[in-house]
């Protein structure tokens, strides 16, 4: 019975952590993508002939910005379905 309470505690803390990981990661990635997208549109409006060059780099950077967030999501999902912190109770 005591174990059950401890497991519930670990699970609830993990749930909070998952929300923080995904939420904060999403905030960061969205701000990053937003700034980059805005700058790209600005640059494209100023010099439309540069669009092909800039577009490739924009997608490259979008992937780089997204990566840290998606690593966070993967980690969060891993903890959601196979919580290694609960292993000591098994």
């Amino acid at each position: 019975m005591e174990n059950l309470a401890l497991i519930a505690q670990v699970q609830s803390y993990t749930a909070i952590a998952l929300g923080l990981i995904i939420g904060l990661g999403a905030i960061g990635a969205c701000i990053g993508i937003g700034i980059m997208g805005a700058k790209f549109l600005e640059a494209a409006a100023r010099q439309p002939e540069l669009i092909p060059t800039l577009q490739g780099r924009m997608f490259l950077l979008a992937g780089l910005i997204d990566a840290a967030f998606l690593i966070g999501v993967a980690l969060a999902m891993f903890f959601a379905f196979a919580n290694p912190l609960l292993a000591s109770f098994a």
Binding site: F59, L60, A62, G63, L64, D66, A67, L70, I71, G72, V73, A74, L75, M77, F78, F81, A82
Partner: protein, 272 residues
């Protein structure tokens, strides 16, 4: 997967789909599914390009030849922009990385349970079909890239020059600064493969998991009731939307892995 007995609940379903087909114990655990799929897709890459190259003509190119030429030229231009020395080694390497990683990532777009069912015909219960959603694959590739980077450093600067640079590069040649310089250079060198591998792995793992979560919607199917139909409709719509978005991600991640390999190699050949 789960050919004999259906999964009891959603957690079991997802954990089942995240289990590799393993042989061996501890350090010597072999993920047979990862090895099989990556080698198979490597052979597909080689075979595809070989078949097209055999039939290549200087006349009017067929569709296959035009497609392959497009990829080769795209990679060659990208490498040329970044890497200014002789690219007879790096451009083919970049091409291989791009096409191979792309194909491995593209396994994510297969219907989630199809590979498992096919594996089930051969009596295998676990089969993860995306090799790049296994950290072993991505780290193997990125450590190979590290070897390539060190090779380019040695080739451009020589063993003495490279050692000299490792100890004197960011701060200066004063003997007091040797240890901090060396430490910083090692951290910089090692952070490259780690970030390269984690980026690809994280993207593919998260993508795979989202597909599994979407698949749970339809798994509640009990018959033509309202909620079941809603779940099935949701799975079809969300699965389609995520799959379309994922086409962008898999191409982008393959491209990023390739470009960063080239960029790291180009950085390695620069003199400080």
């Amino acid at each position: 997967m789960a050919a004999a007995a259906g999964p009891a609940n959603s957690t079991e379903y997802i954990t089942h789909h995240l289990t590799h087909f393993k042989v061996g114990e501890g350090f010597w655990t072999w993920h047979i599914d990862t090895i099989f799929m990556s080698v198979l897709l490597g052979l597909v890459t080689i075979g595809l390009f070989y078949a097209v190259a055999r039939k290549a003509t200087v006349g009017v190119p067929g569709k296959g030849q035009a497609f392959v030429e497009m990829i080769v030229e795209f990679i060659d231009t990208t490498v040329k922009e970044v890497f200014h020395l002789d690219r007879s080694f790096l451009a083919p390497l970049a091409l291989t990385i791009f096409v191979w990683v792309f194909l491995m990532n593209a396994m994510d777009l297969l219907p989630l349970d199809v590979p498992g069912v096919i594996a089930g015909w051969f009596g295998i219960h676990y089969w993860r079909v995306v090799p790049t959603a296994d950290a072993n694959t991505t780290f193997a590739m990125s450590l190979t890239v590290l070897v390539v980077v060190i090779y380019f450093s040695l080739k451009a600067k020589g063993a003495g020059g490279y050692t000299h640079e490792l100890f004197t590069a960011p701060f200066g040649a004063h003997p007091v600064l040797w240890i901090p310089n060396f430490f910083l250079n090692i951290v910089e060198l090692l952070s490259k493969p780690v970030s390269l591998a984690m980026r690809l792995f994280g993207n593919m793992y998260a993508g795979e998991l989202v597909f599994m979560l979407i698949a749970l919607l339809g798994a509640t199917w009990v018959g033509f009731t309202f909620s079941s139909s809603l779940g099935m409709l949701g799975q079809i719509l969300m699965g389609a939307a995520w799959a379309i978005f994922h086409i962008l991600i898999i191409t982008l991640q393959a491209f990023i892995f390739m470009v960063l390999t080239v960029v790291y190699s180009a950085m390695a050949t620069e003199h400080h």
